[in-house]
Amino acid sequence: MTTSTGGILIENLRKVYGHGDTAVEALKNVNMQVAPGEVVGLVGPSGSGKSTLLKCLGAIIEPTSGRMTLGNEVIYDNGWKTSDLRALRRDRIGFVFQAPYLIPFLDVIDNVALLPMLAGVPNVQARQRALELLTALDVAHRAKAEPGQLSGGEQQRVSIARALANKPPVILADEPTAPLDSERALSVMRILNAMAQQAQTAIIVVTHDEKIIPCFKRIYHIRFGQTIEEKGEGRLLS
């Protein structure tokens, strides 16, 4: 068994939907490792198992077998799972979605501060942390704006700030650049890369987006529920 040193470690992960004749094996012995501070791509056609893998990693669905370790903590091991998946998602996993999905009735700073607040951080400290992240992502000037008043790029940066708010060891980004033009897509990738370096966060970016694929140093191709690792170009991120 591989020893994890933080980041993401997936070993022989399987997920089967249904039973008997109707059973569908969505993931077949998937193995992945993402080091802290690393951004890897996960690409594959529709129906290849990307979403299933993301849901397993996000502690939304339970794998059928295998082992998953997030940031030195085993969260699933052949039928055993960590008890509080909700707290795990809140404290140890950051999510960035295709659309920002910011809470429309909260202003920008509270969208980011909500996560630390849910974790029990006092409001003042949570907002302070949120402001630091918004400053780092160059959207602090929109802190009091409502999400609907922001541009697409600004909204995506706020959603990245939200994903980082609880300093999670892992960030799962699902098509984060799909709605953005090339320049903004690359900008988002640079931000993710910088944040991964700064916070030593392991980031998996699920994407179809050809324009950002050259950004990754390592790419996992997923097809028919199996992953194949490939070396990427790792450019355009500086």
Partner: protein
């Protein structure tokens, strides 16, 4: 922790505005219906309190004078005045009719016949807001201001016009009709006497009756005809009990020796509240139940629709680790918030429109408190459907 419900309401208040107004009007109608019932009870109690009586002496076996017809001879009052424990007794007549004020304006009123010049007797109008009490034996009236009459106006009651010399306030019948006090003799005539054509008809009939028109008994026909056009009837004798006596103790000998029915204040309250307005109360109760069900359905629909519009946000909240309790609490708080704002709108609306209602609408604080509690309960119950939907949302819905 941020109050998510409050922030959502603040954010979407413009969308919710019409919901608040709609629910508020519904709650206002509910409060008004309760107020109408309270007004009916209060009218009945005001009628009894304003009469100043401790006992109502009426025709035996009747529930008069307000709930049933009751006829007594007007000289009975003298023998009742002599009964032990009676401080004051007075004849009284009541009848409800359509009166015509100056300018042809019509109003429903209860005409009360009282002895003029005897202020302080039971049945008399108590405090006057303007003018004076009746002092003449004929053609003067004291009217409640709700009739729309003013001092100096004339009011047509049956065949005579009466000058309004005094005005009272909150002197109403159990049905909420304002009272017009006139002299007892005028009231007896107005209540019991017939019109001229009927009198002529009666005279012809009587004179054609050989039993009353006997050649051997001169004066019999005149006596019978005089009897037909004079009225010595009243509806009740109101009694004030002397100090140191119990109403029930005073009532007993009147009942026993005069062969009359006597009601105490509590008996009369029971007749008016439990019997006379019982059907109306049940009717209002039915309306209140229907309004409560409709309110619940509306709140449930609004909250359910609001929740369906936030499914994606709820999925994101669940995905980022928000507890189910926090999400359920958000929806419950929104439902309660809707109820609180709706209740405030409803209470203000009911307070504003209550005086415009033709019948007295009495909005009691205790009803408002009860209504508020019922609103919160209905809102809490109505939110359960939306909470159920929200708790079933799969966090995976946040992931494309």
């Amino acid at each position: 922790m941020i109050n998510l419900a409050l922030r959502d309401i603040q954010h979407s208040w413009a969308k919710l505005f019409l919901s608040w107004v709609g629910l508020g009007v519904l709650i206002g109608v509910t409060l008004t219906m309760a107020g109408v019932y309270r007004g009916m009870v209060d009218d009945a109690q005001a009628l009894l309190s304003n009469s100043g009586a401790d006992l109502w002496v009426v025709q035996k076996g009747t529930q008069g004078p307000y709930a049933e017809a009751s006829n007594l001879k007007d000289d009975l009052v003298r023998s009742i005045q002599g009964m032990p424990g009676v401080a004051k007794a007075a004849n009284i007549t009541y009848f409800t009719m359509q009166i015509q004020a100056r300018g042809g304006r019509e109003a429903r009123a209860m005409v009360v016949g009282i002895e003029p010049g005897t202020a302080g007797l039971p049945g008399q109008p108590g405090h006057l807001v303007a003018g004076r009490h009746l002092t003449r034996s004929h053609y003067e009236a004291v009217a409640d201001i709700k009739t729309g009459l003013a001092l100096g106006d004339t009011v047509q009651i049956r065949r005579h016009a009466y000058a309004v010399v005094g005005l009272t306030q909150r002197m109403v019948s159990s049905g909420g009709d304002p009272m017009v006090f006139i002299a007892l003799k005028d009231a007896q005539e107005a209540q019991f006497l017939k019109d001229n054509d009927a009198l002529v008809n009666d005279r012809v009939r009587t004179s054609a009756n050989p039993a009353f028109n006997r050649p051997a008994v001169p004066g019999l026909l005149d006596a019978v005809q005089n009897l037909q056009i004079s009225s010595r009837n009243v509806n009740a004798v109101l009694v004030q009990v002397a100090e140191g006596h119990q109403a029930a103790q005073v009532a007993e000998p009147i009942r026993r020796w005069k062969h009359l029915t006597v009601y105490t204040r509590s008996d009369m309250e029971e007749i008016l509240v439990d019997k006379l307005i019982a059907t109306s109360a049940k009717q209002i109760g039915m309306f209140l139940v229907i309004l409560a069900v409709v309110s619940a359905a509306i709140v449930a629909f609004i909250i359910y629709t609001m929740t369906l519009g936030k499914i994606r946000e709820i999925a994101v909240l669940k995905l980022i680790g928000t507890r189910n309790l926090t999400i359920a609490s958000m929806i419950l708080q929104q439902a309660l918030g809707l109820g609180v704002i709706g209740f405030v709108v409803g209470k203000v609306a009911a307070t504003l429109w209550a005086p415009v209602f033709p019948k007295f609408v009495l909005l009691l604080t205790q009803d408002a408190v009860l209504g508020f509690a019922a609103t919160l309960l209905i809102c809490a119950l109505a939110s359960t459907l939306a909470i159920r939907v929200a708790l079933r949302v799969d966090p995976a819905q946040a992931i494309s």
